[in-house]
Amino acid sequence: MTMDHPQPPLYVAILTYLSYGVLIVFGHLRDFSRAGLTALGLRWLLRATSKDTRRPVGNEPGYCELLSDFDNFYTRRLYHRIQDCWNRPVCSAPGAYITLPERLSDDYNLSFKLTGKTHRCLNLGSYNYLGFAENHGPTIAAVTDATLTYGISSCGSRATAGNTRDHVELENLVARFLGKPAAMIFGMGFATNSTVIPALCGKGSLVISDTLNHSSIVQGCRVSGAKIKTFRHNDPDDLEAVLRHAIAYGQPRTHRPWKKIIVIVEGIYSMEGEICRLAEIVAVKKKYKAYLYLDEAHSIGALGATGRGVCEHTGVSPDDVDILMGTFTKSFGGVGGYIASTPELIQYLKSVCIGHLYANAMAPPVARMVQTTMKIIMGEDGTNDGQRRIHQLRDNANYFRRRLVEMGFVIYGDNDSPVVPLMLYYPCAIAAFSREALKRSLAVVVVGYPATPIIESRSRFCLSAAHTREDIDKALDAISDVGDVMGLKFNA
């Protein structure tokens, strides 16, 4: 497994900073000229030439600006120029191929208009790891049946009047799938983290969180009132150092011992494609009597010989992880999240967890969808379709990763991980890569600051069991071509 990321050549780092410098200078020049024209009383000229037809909101006289120019600088002057690379509308199932309506902007990307044409692209962006984002097959029949049984929503929380048979059955199935005695489901993956973590720790507790944990975990920790420390991304040695320090010196100022310490890690880091070094982290957490909370949003279904996630992949018993969390959005083609743990913990969550007491229940048809796909993965549908998908995904991911490395691209992440980030570095490469890929009928995700460190802009590919070897080869040819045009093969 990779410990340290491959580093870019020095000239790339310098040019990247320089590019940001140029963008910022030009952004300020534009702000400067706008401020100048306003100062000269030529606001009408600005308005006459501006393409912004939106109702001016947020700068009413006598009020504080709703979005201060400074906070907003990055959005206005950097993001808006290239916002065509995100929020692209989709008019098909997000399967191996995806159909995107063509859109154009006549106001410098402030707004878009659909041209009516569509563009079928190979989909390397969706979290459709096991290929269940499809509009045919047994899942559709099952969801249809559930919709006819329950309607769309149970219009209530599960604690009051929104609990259905399918919710209960899904919980039992999740527990069985993960090899945990009990489980509980939530209507949204984000809300699972952001409401369960506060239920488990509070003042006097310490959370030790991987530096690259997802925003929902960060939000949950913030709400909880627990003290938060971070350890270096995926580094058990650093975790050990942080734990030793924490236990030795106790709480800040009072130096009382911590009530409890919860270590929070993810199975696969969605922007890095790295797999958690779970076995070593479990050894550390046992040694220091900490509790372990594992977020398997991206790894459940996608890792392990039978799709049981990072525990199976690293040979760790699920009993050694105190709390298993995951989502149904990715491998299971549904929506929502789960927690699997001891019966006591689940019973406790039933009485205190906000996401359970106050939030609406998961839509029952979606609960049926997840049950159906989970049973396929477990082979309980009587076929080997689940196993086939898991193998196909593994083959696709490893082949794709190996070929990209061979081509000379800088690639992050581990073997077997279906998330493959390709480094772009330059801010200007973000949009260029996305647009060039789109021209070659590839739908790719590109990310830059603030989702990544400022010089580590990247394109993040997600492989799927729905891709065939021909699809992958086609994608590789196109990416290689774009890489040549843009000079991205830094290791060639």
Partner: protein
């Protein structure tokens, strides 16, 4: 040549200096922050990227080992008390009949559902199901990605457009979950250093938004406009005195309060927020599709221009019988959330079929609101003219226009302030709900996490009506509930001493309302807000419901 170059350089230098001075005069903080940023970039480039805590280690290795050996953490889960051990989910629904009015629970058919927020009867609506299934066959179930990364499927976009068109706003934004909508929308705008003035009765999702914003939170008494004016004017006066840079200021309220069923006094709030230059945010989960001549919520109800609101949010799980949340406002406000709304950016989008169902529900209401709203109004009046409204020993909270009613025990506030008192009240309502289920009626006792609420709400029994219900069935069910409640009140634990003792219950199941002391209904009418008061919003009587909210944190920020 060289002279020219020097000249040019000098000129550029002068312009730069002038610009800096200009910026400095205009906004010194801006320049300071930019300069700090520049230094920080240099620091980042020169320094190593990560340093573990540099606190000087005073303990030796063996000492730390000993401390580690000694340290015993608390268990991950506290020892559960008997109550927690017995905590159950709601009754398990096996089947929902079209219209959502009747459900099958544990093999028992035809249970009347008075427990969910399906106000317009669109749960299980055939058109909505049809639309959802068509979408399912075209797009599959899950969207497998956040909106930013190929998760903006057509039904999401169409639903956003439909809501914006219907409400008459520039744009709207769809979140995948109702709970996360307001909890993300508030912190997208309100930050540390800003101030939010909020009603004490706002429900938990709103409170989550307030907490996440890290702004200063000021509270006003529930729906008390004089108190709102006091809070606003005191804050503004103090801020003016302090001077300094203007901060962002918001008033946050709910259209119909989920916890009390009251309608906010929107015209007064708008008047006050304009007077004191605050921006207004309204949570409309229980008013959208319910209030107003065409169901457009509390703004239409009061004839207030919707542009007075910075934005409104609503869960789609009530009137629109789907899952998700919507936030509507101006394009500037909506656009900003597409990058800054955490529940939008960092979460997968809703399965498209749910959005299609919501869109169909919206179309049905938008095309001809009258049948839905008239039917709902009839059921609402059945609800509020029932005996439940004036049951001795209880207080019915909420406006007579609202399709749900909270029944709470008429006990002193001290009974709600203590754990035991709340537990005893919850037990009463759970027993009532269980007895009602035996009688073929699904109702829900409220479930709160009291330790997380800013102010402790009183345990209640919630009874919701739906436009699709048969009026006679509804009236009969309400009478049954009234009997069950009356019955339950005969054996209250000593902890729950009622404010006014109930006379002995006659042996026959006579309507006990007749036996009530004459003074009681009047007292209750005041407590609940008189019907006239609800219909004529400008003349709201002092609402006493806030006395039901026991403040636990007098010094909360």
């Amino acid at each position: 040549m060289i002279d020219d170059a020097i000249h040019l350089a000098q000129h550029l230098y002068n312009v730069a200096i002038e610009f800096t001075v200009y910026m400095y005069q205009n906004d010194p903080y801006h320049v300071a922050v930019e300069a700090a940023l520049a230094l920080w970039v240099v620091y980042l480039m020169l320094g190593s990227s990560f340093r573990p805590s540099s606190k000087p280690t005073k303990l030796s290795r063996t000492e730390i080992d000993e401390l580690v050996e000694e340290w015993t953490p608390e268990p991950l889960v506290p020892v559960l008390d008997d109550r927690q051990k017995a905590m159950e989910m709601g009754p398990v629904i096996d089947r929902v009949e079209p219209g959502g009015v009747h459900v099958t629970i544990e093999g028992k058919d035809g249970v009347l559902n008075l427990g969910s927020g399906n106000y317009l009867g669109l749960s299980g609506n055939r058109d909505c199901i049809q639309a959802a299934l068509l979408t399912l066959k075209e797009y599959g179930c899950g969207s497998c990605g956040p909106r930013g990364f190929y998760g903006s499927v057509n039904p999401h976009v169409h639903l956003e457009e439909a809501f914006a068109r219907w409400l008459g706003v520039e744009e709207s934004i769809l979140y995948s979950y109702g709970f996360s909508t307001i909890a993300s929308a508030i912190p997208a705008f309100a930050k540390r250093g800003d101030v939010i003035v909020a009603d004490k009765a706002v429900s938990f999702p709103v409170q989550t938004g307030l907490r996440l914003s890290r702004s200063k939170i000021l509270w006003y008494e529930h729906n008390d406009m004089d108190d709102l004016e006091r809070v606003l004017s005191e804050y503004v006066a103090a801020a003016d005195e302090r001077g300094g840079k203007l901060n962002r200021r918001f008033v946050v309220t709910e259209g119909v309060f989920a916890n009390t069923g009251t309608i906010c006094d929107l015209p007064r709030i708008v008047e006050l927020k304009n007077k004191f230059r605050f921006r207004l945010v309204v949570e409309e989960s229980h008013s959208l599709g319910v209030l107003g001549a065409s169901g457009k919520g509390v703004t239409e109800h009061f004839g207030v221009d919707i542009d007075e609101l910075l934005f409104l949010t609503a869960s789609l799980s009530n009137s629109f019988a789907a899952v998700g949340g919507i936030c509507a406002g101006s394009s500037v406000v909506v656009d900003h959330q597409r990058l800054s709304g955490s529940g939008y950016c960092f979460s997968a989008s809703a399965p498209p079929m749910l959005s299609s169902a919501a869109n169909t529900a919206l179309d049905l209401v938008a095309d001809s609101p009258a049948p839905f709203l008239d039917a709902l109004a009839d059921r609402v009046s059945v609800l509020h003219s029932s005996r439940l409204r004036s049951l001795p020993g209880t207080v019915a909270l909420g406006s007579h226009r609202v399709p749900f009613l909270h029944l709470v025990l008429d006990v002193p506030d001290s009974a709600t302030a203590s754990d035991d008192g709340r537990n005893a009240q919850e037990d009463v309502w759970s027993a009532v709900a269980a007895a009602a289920l035996d009688a073929g009626i699904l109702i829900a006792a409220t479930r709160f996490n009291y330790s997380e609420e800013y102010f402790t709400p009183q345990p209640a029994l919630t009874i919701s009506v739906s436009a699709a219900m048969d009026v006679d069935d509804l009236a009969a069910a309400l009478a049954t509930i009234a009997d069950i409640v009356t019955n339950a009140l005969t054996s209250l634990p000593p902890l729950l001493a009622l404010n006014q003792p109930i006379p002995a219950i006659p042996a026959s199941p006579e309507p006990p309302a007749r036996a009530a002391p004459p003074a009681a209904p009047r007292a209750r009418a005041v407590r609940n807000g008189s019907p006239a008061g609800c219909c004529c919003p400008m003349n709201l009587p002092p609402v006493l419901a806030p006395s039901k909210l026991v403040c636990r944190h007098p010094n909360l920020p």
